[in-house]
C-alpha cells in the first residue's frame, strides 16, 4: 500500500503524522476500533497539517469498486454488531478490505456466541470447554491464504489472533512479527505481541522491523516486564522527539512511576493528565491506587464521582469506587464493587487482589485466600497476590507456612524490601535468627521503603548480644533518617538513641553517650532514662576523668559519616535456608 512504509527515525514528524492519520482511517474501515483510537490519539498530539499537505484518501482499486456495495452494507451491519449478517453479505468478496471484514466478522460472531453460551452451558464443568467454534475453520482458511502469501498486514494480524486464541503461542508470535513487518503502523499487532512475550530473553530473539513504531512497542513492553528504568528512558525520548502532548505516553509514564512506587511523581503526572483529558477512564484505577496509598480521601471521592458520571459500567470505574469505599473503611461495599469489576471482566487481575485485601480487612481470611488464589490463577506472576496470601497466613499465626508465599513474592520482586522484611519477620518468629538477619540486611541493601529493616536488624543483634553490630545498625538507621530529612515521626528513633546512649556508656565514651542521652530527652518515652543516664555520666566524669575540651560533631549527622562504617550497597546473593521451594 502506498504511504505505509515507515522510516526508522523521528526526523520527519509531518510524515509520521500523515501515516498515523492514514492508518487510523484504514483501521476504522476494518472495524479495528482500538488501534484506530490509538493512532488517532497519537496523531492528535502532533501539530496539525496545513491543507496542502493533507493526503488524499488512497485511490480506489478495481476490486474495491466491485465490492463497494457489499462492503458498505456489511460495514453497517458490523457496526450494529450483526456479525453473521455482515459475513453473509461479504461472502465471495475479493478485495482485501472486504475479505478482512468478512473474516473478522466471523471471528467476532464466534466470540460473541461463545460468551453467550458460557451462561447456559450444559454443566459447570463444561464451562471451561466452551470454545469459539469458528476458530478452527478460520485457522484452516487463513493458513491456506498465509501459505499462498495472500494475506496483507491486517489479515496476518487476524491470523495471529486466531492462533493465540487456539493457544498456539509460538506460531502466533511468528505471525505477529510478520504482521509488524508487513504493516508496522498497526498498533494492534504490536500490542498482541506485547501480551505474548513473557520475558526479556524472548524479546531479544525477535527480529522486529526497524521503524519508529518499534520505539513505542519497546517502551510498552518494558513497562509490562517491569523494566521501568528502560521504559522511562524510552518514553522520555519519545517526548523529546515531539510527542509531549500524547495522553497515551503521559499515562504510560505515570503507570511506570507507579510501578516503581514513586508516588509523588506519578500523582502529579496523573493530575496533569486529567486536566488534559478529563473524560479519560483508562488507567484511572492506577491513579486511584495512588490516591489510596496517600489516603487522599477528597480527591479519591471526586475521582469516583466523576468517573461514575462518565461511565459506571467500566472495570476501572468499579475499581476506583472500590478503592474509595476501602479508604472509608466500608469494606463490604468495596468488596462488592470489586466483584462488579470482575463480573465485567473476569480476567481483570487487579480486582482479585484488591478483593483479597478487602476480605483481609474484614477478617474473612478464607475468602481472602480464595480471592488471592484466583488472582494467581489469572496471572502466576502477580506478586501482590502471593504477598497477600503470605500475610493471610501470618495473621493466622502460621509463620512457617507463610514463608513459602513470601518466597514466591520475593522471587518475583527480588529487589522489593517489603517482601524481604516480611520474610525476615517470619524467620524471626521461627527463631531462625541467622536467616532473619540475612533478610533484613538484604532489605536494607536493596533500599528499604519503610525504613524498618535496620531497626529490626539492630534489635536482632541486640537479642544475640552482638552489641557492636547492633550499635552500627542503629547508627546507620539514624543517619538514614537524618539524611532523608523527613520529619515523619519515627517511633524507633528514641529506641535507637537509648540503645546507643547505653552502648557508649558501657564503652566509656562519655561524650558520645551524653549526646545520645540528650537526644533521648527529646522523646517522651525515653526522657526519664535519658536524664538518669546523663546524671550517671556526669558523676563518673567528675569521679576521675577529665572531660575533653572539644565537643566533637555529633557522630550521627551525615557530615561526619565515618568512612569505614558506611554500608556498602553491594548486594550479596541471598542464600536462605537450603530448601526454597
Amino acid at each position: 500500500m502506498p504511504g505505509l512504509s515507515t522510516s526508522s527515525g523521528f526526523s520527519n514528524l509531518r510524515e509520521i503524522k500523515k501515516q498515523l492519520l492514514l492508518i487510523a482511517g484504514l483501521t476504522r474501515e476494518r472495524g479495528l476500533l482500538h488501534s484506530s483510537k490509538w493512532s488517532a490519539e497519537l496523531a492528535f498530539s502532533l501539530p496539525a497539517l496545513p491543507l496542502a499537505e493533507l493526503q488524499p484518501p488512497p485511490p480506489i482499486t478495481e476490486e474495491d469498486a466491485q465490492d463497494m456495495d457489499a462492503y458498505t452494507l456489511a460495514k453497517a451491519y458490523f457496526d450494529v454488531k450483526e456479525y453473521d449478517r455482515a459475513a453473509h453479505f461479504l461472502h465471495g468478496c475479493n478485495s482485501k478490505k472486504a475479505y478482512f471484514l468478512y473474516m473478522y466478522s466471523r471471528y467476532l460472531s464466534g466470540e460473541k456466541k461463545k460468551d453467550d453460551e458460557t451462561v447456559d452451558s450444559l454443566g459447570p464443568l463444561e464451562k471451561g470447554q466452551v470454545k469459539n467454534e469458528a476458530l478452527r475453520e478460520l485457522r484452516v482458511e487463513l493458513s491456506k491464504k498465509h501459505q499462498a502469501r495472500e494475506l496483507d498486514g491486517f489479515g496476518l494480524y487476524l491470523y495471529g489472533v486466531v492462533l493465540r486464541k487456539l493457544d498456539l503461542v509460538k506460531e502466533a508470535i511468528d505471525v505477529f512479527v510478520e504482521a509488524t513487518h508487513v504493516l508496522p503502523l498497526h498498533w494492534g499487532a504490536w500490542l498482541e505481541l506485547c501480551n505474548l512475550i513473557t520475558d526479556k530473553e524472548m524479546l531479544k530473539f525477535l527480529s522486529l522491523p526497524d521503524t519508529w513504531m518499534k520505539e513505542f512497542f519497546l517502551a510498552h513492553i518494558y513497562t509490562e516486564l517491569q523494566l521501568i528504568e528502560e521504559a522511562l528512558q524510552k518514553y522520555q525520548n519519545l517526548i523529546d522527539v515531539g510527542f509531549s502532548k500524547s495522553s497515551y505516553i503521559v499515562s504510560q509514564i505515570a503507570v511506570a512511576y507507579h510501578n516503581i512506587r514513586d508516588i509523588d511523581k506519578a500523582l502529579s503526572i496523573f493530575n496533569e493528565l486529567r486536566k488534559q483529558d478529563p473524560y479519560r477512564i483508562e488507567n484511572m484505577d492506577t491513579f486511584s491506587n495512588l490516591l489510596y496509598v496517600r489516603s487522599m480521601k477528597s480527591e479519591l471521592s471526586y475521582l469516583a464521582h466523576n468517573l461514575c458520571e462518565i461511565d459506571k459500567y467500566r472495570v476501572e470505574t468499579c475499581c476506583v469506587i472500590g478503592n474509595y469505599y476501602s479508604l472509608r473503611s466500608q469494606h463490604e461495599k468495596a468488596a462488592l464493587y470489586f466483584q462488579r469489576a470482575l463480573k465485567l471482566n473476569p480476567r481483570y487481575l487487579g480486582a482479585w487482589t484488591l478483593m483479597g485485601h478487602e476480605y483481609m480487612e474484614m477478617k474473612n481470611t478464607s475468602a481472602a485466600i480464595q480471592a488471592y488464589r484466583h488472582a494467581i490463577e489469572v496471572n502466576k506472576r502477580d506478586y501482590r497476590a502471593w504477598y497477600g496470601l503470605g500475610q493471610t497466613y501470618e495473621i493466622l499465626k502460621m509463620p512457617f507456612y507463610c514463608l513459602y508465599y513470601y518466597r514466591r513474592a520475593h522471587q518475583l520482586r527480588p529487589n522489593d524490601s517489603r517482601m524481604l522484611v516480611a520474610l525476615g519477620e517470619c524467620y524471626e518468629k521461627l527463631n531462625q535468627l541467622v536467616e532473619a538477619k540475612k533478610c533484613y540486611w538484604r532489605a536494607y541493601a536493596v533500599g528499604d521503603v519503610e525504613k524498618m529493616a535496620l531497626v529490626k536488624l539492630a534489635k536482632l543483634h541486640e537479642q544475640l548480644t552482638e552489641s557492636e553490630q547492633a550499635a552500627q545498625c542503629y547508627i546507620k538507621y539514624i543517619q538514614d533518617i537524618y539524611s532523608c530529612g523527613e520529619i515523619v515521626e519515627h517511633l524507633e528513633e528514641s529506641t535507637a538513641f537509648r540503645y546507643l546512649a547505653q552502648y557508649y556508656f558501657k564503652c566509656k565514651l562519655w561524650d558520645e553517650a551524653s549526646t545520645c542521652a540528650q537526644k533521648c530527652c527529646a522523646f517522651n518515652d525515653t526522657r526519664e532514662e535519658g536524664k538518669a543516664l546523663l546524671r550517671q555520666i556526669l558523676q563518673l566524669r567528675n569521679q576521675g576523668e577529665t572531660p575533653s575540651t572539644e565537643m566533637p560533631a555529633p557522630f550521627f549527622l551525615p557530615a561526619s559519616l565515618s568512612a569505614n562504617n558506611t554500608p556498602t550497597r553491594r548486594v550479596s546473593p541471598l542464600n536462605l535456608s537450603s530448601v526454597t521451594p
Partner: protein, 755 residues
C-alpha cells in the same frame, strides 16, 4: 485494548466473589453418552426375563457399574462393550439411538418423559434407591433442569455423537467408493480433522464431578496399594491438568497431583500442589457450616502437618520440624487431640532421625489408645518394636507386643498394618539370625490373601511390606545357595515394582548385595568392586563397608583399615550395632591376615560382647568362628575346638551355607592341629574324622561355588590322605587342586591365613 477479544461474560456461578463449581448442587449432568447408557438401561428393563439368557444378563449387570462410573466413551466403543456381553441387546440399543438421533427433538423429550415409568407400577423394574435407580433419577432431574437452549444443545450434541459413532463403524466396515469430487471434499475434511485431532489429544473431554471423583479416588488408592497399575506420572499429571482446566475449584485434584509429584521426587511441584490444595480446602471447610469455625481451623492444622510430612519425606528435617511445631501449636490452641496425636507420631519420626529416645513414642502409643485411634496406636507399637529390636530387647517381648497389636489389627481389619506386622516379624527373625523362622514368616505374608482383595479384586497389593518380605526371601535363598530361586524372586520383584516406582530401591539394593556376595565367593573382585558404586548410591554405609571388604580381599590392607576405622566411628555414632559388629569382624580379619592375631583378640571379644548384648545370634556365631580361628593361629587348637563345639550348632541350624562350610573347614583344621600330640592310632582316627568334615565343608562350598575355598579344602584333604597313606585318594585330590589352581589367580595368601 487487547480486551476486545477477551470474553466479557457474566458468570452466574459467582457469589461472594468466588466462582462455585457447583452452585446448583448438581454432581452429574446429561451428556450424549449418558443418554446412550439410559437407552441401554431402558432396553434391559424392557426385554424382560425370557429374551436374554441368564449368563448374558449377568455379564450385562457386571458391565453396568463401570459404565455408570467411568468417563464418557465413544458410541462405537459402547456398542462393542454391549455386544461382547449381549449382541442382541446391542442391536436394539443401536436402533433406538439411531431413531432418536435421526428423528427430531420431540423424540428425545419423549424418551425422558418415559424414563420415569420404570419406577411406577406395582412391581417396578428399577428400585428407587438402587444404584441404577439413583442414576436414573439423577439423570431425569438434571434433564428437567435444562433450559430450552440447553436442551437443544444437548440434542445437537447427541446427533454429533451419533454421527461420529456411525462414521467410525462405517469406516471400519469398508469405504471404497470414491469419485474425484468426493475425494477432494474428503481431503478438505481430513485437513480439518487433523487440526481437530491434535487439539483433542490433549483434552479427552470433561468429566462430570462424579466421574472426576471416581477417577481421583481410584488413582489415589492405586498409588497407595499398587503403583504399577496406576497411570504413569506423566499421563496422570496430564489428566489432572486437564481436569483442573475445566474445573479449577476441584481441590482434590491438587492433592492427587501432590501425591503424583512425590512419586517423581519433585519438591517444587509437590509443595506447590499441596499448598494449593489446602488453600482451596480452607474455603470448602468454611463453606460447609456443619462444623462452623471448627472445619476451617481444622484444615489449617492439617495443612501445616502435611507440610511437615512433605519436608520429612524429602529429608528436610529442620524445615519439617518447624512446620510440625506450627501444627502442634495450632492444634493445641484449638484443643484438637486427634491432630495432636498425629503430630506426636510425626515428632517421633523426626526425633528418630537424630536420637533414639522412645519416651515420645511410648507416650504417643498410650495417648493414641486413649483417644481410640487404633491405626496410629499400632503404627506406634510397630515403630516401638523396630526401635527396641535395634536396641537389643529380647525377642519374646517384641513378639508379644506385635501379637497384641495384631489383635488390634484383626479387630479393626487394618489389612495394611497386618502386612507390615508380618514383614516386620520376618525382619526381626532375620536380625536375630533365625533364618527358618524368617523364611516361614515371609512365606506366610506372601501366601496370605489380603483383606482388601475382597473389595478391589486385586489379589495382592504391591505395598512396601510385600517388597520387604520378597527381598528377605531372595536374600535367604541366596544365603542357602539357591541362586536360581533367588534370581527368580528378584525377577518377580522387578515385575511387581518396576524400577521407577517407590519401593524399587529395596530390591535394587538386595539384588546388588546378592551379586556382590556371589562375585566375592567366585573371587571376581573387580566385578564386586564395580558393584560397590551401585550399592553406595542406595545405601552409603553398606557401600563403604563393601568397599572395605573388596579392598581387603585385594590385599590393600592399609586402605581397607582406614575405611573401616572411619566407618566404625560413624556407625557407633548412629548406633547401627549390626554394622558395628560386622566392621569389627572385618577389622579382626584384617589383623590376623597381617599376621598379628593377638591384636585381633580384643576386637573379637568386643564384637562378641556386643552381639551377645543385642542378641544377634547370627553375628555372634560368626564372631565365635573368628575367635576360634584366632586361637588356632595362636596355637591352642584344643581351646578352639571346644569353642567351636559351642558355636557349630546354631551355625548348622540357621547359618548361611558359606558359614557352614567355613565352620566345618575350621573344625577339621583344629582337629588336625590338636591331633599332632596324639598317639598314631588315635591320630589316624582323628584325621579320618577331619577328612569327613572336610568333605562336608567341600559340599557346602560347592553349593555357593566358592572355588577358592574348595581349592584350599582339596589341598588340605590331599595332605591328610598323604599322611594317612591313601595314595589313590591323595592323587585324586591333588589333581582337583591342580585344576582349580590353574583356574584361579593366586593371591599370595598362605593357606593357613584363611578362615
Amino acid at each position: 485494548m487487547a480486551s476486545v477479544h477477551e470474553s466479557l461474560y457474566f458468570n452466574p456461578m459467582m457469589t461472594n466473589g468466588v466462582v462455585h463449581a457447583n452452585v446448583f448442587g448438581i454432581k452429574d449432568w446429561v451428556t450424549p453418552y449418558k443418554i446412550a447408557v439410559l437407552v441401554l438401561l431402558n432396553e434391559m428393563g424392557r426385554t424382560g426375563e425370557g429374551a436374554v439368557s441368564l449368563m448374558e444378563r449377568r455379564r450385562l449387570n457386571q458391565l453396568l457399574l463401570p459404565l455408570l462410573q467411568g468417563p464418557d466413551i465413544t458410541l462405537s466403543k459402547l456398542y462393542k462393550l454391549i455386544e461382547e456381553s449381549c449382541p442382541q441387546l446391542a442391536n436394539s440399543v443401536q436402533i433406538r439411538i439411531k431413531l432418536m438421533a435421526e428423528g427430531e427433538l420431540k423424540d428425545m423429550e419423549q424418551f425422558f418423559d418415559d424414563l420415569s415409568d420404570s419406577f411406577s407400577g406395582t412391581e417396578p423394574e428399577v428400585h428407587k434407591t438402587s444404584v441404577v435407580g439413583l442414576f436414573l433419577r439423577h439423570m431425569i432431574l438434571a434433564y428437567s433442569k435444562l433450559s430450552f437452549s440447553q436442551v437443544f444443545k444437548l440434542y445437537t450434541a447427541l446427533q454429533q455423537y451419533f454421527q461420529n459413532g456411525e462414521k467410525k463403524t462405517v469406516e471400519d466396515a469398508d469405504m471404497e467408493l470414491t469419485n474425484r469430487d468426493e475425494g477432494e471434499r474428503k481431503m478438505e475434511k481430513e485437513e480439518l480433522d487433523v487440526s481437530i485431532r491434535e487439539e483433542e489429544v490433549s483434552c479427552s473431554g470433561p468429566l462430570s464431578q462424579k466421574q472426576a471423583e471416581f477417577f481421583l479416588s481410584q488413582q489415589a488408592s492405586l498409588l497407595k496399594n499398587d503403583e504399577t497399575k496406576a497411570l504413569t506420572p506423566a499421563s496422570l499429571q496430564k489428566e489432572l491438568n486437564n481436569l483442573l482446566k475445566f474445573n479449577p475449584d476441584f481441590a482434590e485434584a491438587h492433592y492427587l497431583s501432590y501425591l503424583n509429584n512425590l512419586r517423581v521426587q519433585d519438591v517444587f511441584s509437590s509443595t506447590h500442589s499441596l499448598l494449593h490444595y489446602f488453600d482451596r480446602l480452607i474455603l470448602t471447610g468454611a463453606e460447609s457450616k456443619s462444623n462452623g469455625e471448627e472445619g476451617y481451623g481444622r484444615s489449617l492444622r492439617y495443612a501445616a502437618l502435611n507440610l511437615a510430612a512433605l519436608h520429612c519425606r524429602f529429608g528436610h528435617y529442620q524445615q519439617a520440624e518447624l512446620a510440625l511445631q506450627e501444627a502442634i501449636r495450632i492444634a493445641q490452641e484449638s484443643n484438637d487431640h486427634v491432630c495432636l496425636q498425629h503430630c506426636l507420631s510425626w515428632l517421633y519420626v523426626l526425633g528418630q532421625k537424630r536420637s533414639d529416645s522412645y519416651v515420645l513414642l511410648e507416650h504417643s502409643v498410650k495417648k493414641a489408645v486413649h483417644f481410640g485411634l487404633p491405626y496410629l496406636a499400632s503404627l506406634g507399637i510397630q515403630s516401638l518394636v523396630q526401635q527396641r529390636a535395634f536396641a537389643g530387647k529380647t525377642a519374646n517381648k517384641l513378639m508379644d507386643a506385635l501379637k497384641d497389636s495384631d489383635l488390634l489389627h484383626w479387630k479393626h481389619s487394618l489389612s495394611e498394618l497386618i502386612d507390615i506386622s508380618i514383614a516386620q516379624k520376618t525382619a526381626i527373625w532375620r536380625l536375630y539370625g533365625r533364618s527358618t523362622m524368617a523364611l516361614q514368616q515371609a512365606q506366610m505374608l506372601l501366601s496370605m490373601n489380603s483383606l482388601e482383595s475382597v473389595n478391589s479384586g486385586v489379589q495382592q497389593n504391591n505395598t512396601e511390606s510385600f517388597a520387604v518380605a520378597l527381598c528377605h526371601l531372595a536374600e535367604l535363598h541366596a544365603e542357602q545357595g539357591c541362586f536360581a530361586a533367588a534370581s527368580e524372586v528378584l525377577k518377580h520383584l522387578k515385575e511387581r515394582f518396576p524400577p521407577n516406582s517407590q519401593h524399587a530401591q529395596l530390591w535394587m539394593l538386595c539384588d546388588q548385595k546378592i551379586q556382590f556376595d556371589r562375585a566375592m565367593n567366585d573371587g571376581k573382585y573387580h566385578l564386586a568392586d564395580s558393584l560397590v558404586t551401585g550399592i553406595t548410591a542406595l545405601n552409603s554405609i553398606e557401600g563403604v563397608y563393601r568397599k572395605a571388604v573388596v579392598l581387603q580381599a585385594q590385599n590393600q590392607m592399609s586402605e581397607a583399615h582406614k575405611l573401616l576405622q572411619k566407618l566404625l566411628i560413624h556407625c557407633q555414632k548412629i548406633r547401627n550395632t549390626e554394622m558395628v559388629i560386622s566392621v569389627l569382624l572385618s577389622v579382626a580379619e584384617l589383623y590376623w591376615r597381617s599376621s598379628s592375631p593377638t591384636i585381633a583378640l580384643p576386637v573379637l571379644l568386643q564384637a562378641l560382647a556386643l552381639s551377645k548384648e543385642y542378641r544377634l545370634q547370627y553375628l555372634a556365631s560368626e564372631t565365635v568362628l573368628n575367635l576360634a580361628f584366632a586361637q588356632l593361629i595362636l596355637g591352642i587348637p584344643e581351646q578352639a575346638l571346644s569353642l567351636l563345639h559351642m558355636a557349630i550348632e546354631p551355625i548348622l541350624a540357621d547359618g548361611a551355607v558359606l558359614d557352614k562350610g567355613r565352620a566345618m573347614f575350621l573344625v577339621a583344621k583344629c582337629q588336625v592341629a590338636s591331633a599332632a600330640s596324639y598317639d598314631p592310632l588315635k591320630k589316624a582316627e582323628v584325621l579320618e574324622a577331619a577328612v569327613e568334615n572336610l568333605n562336608e565343608a567341600k559340599n557346602y562350598f560347592a553349593k555357593v561355588d566358592c572355588k577358592e575355598q574348595i581349592r584350599d579344602v582339596v589341598y588340605f584333604q590331599a595332605r591328610l590322605y598323604h599322611t594317612l597313606g591313601k595314595t589313590q585318594e591323595r592323587n585324586r585330590c591333588a589333581m582337583l587342586f591342580r585344576q582349580l589352581h590353574q583356574e584361579l589367580p593366586f593371591h599370595g595368601v598362605p593357606l593357613i591365613n584363611h578362615l
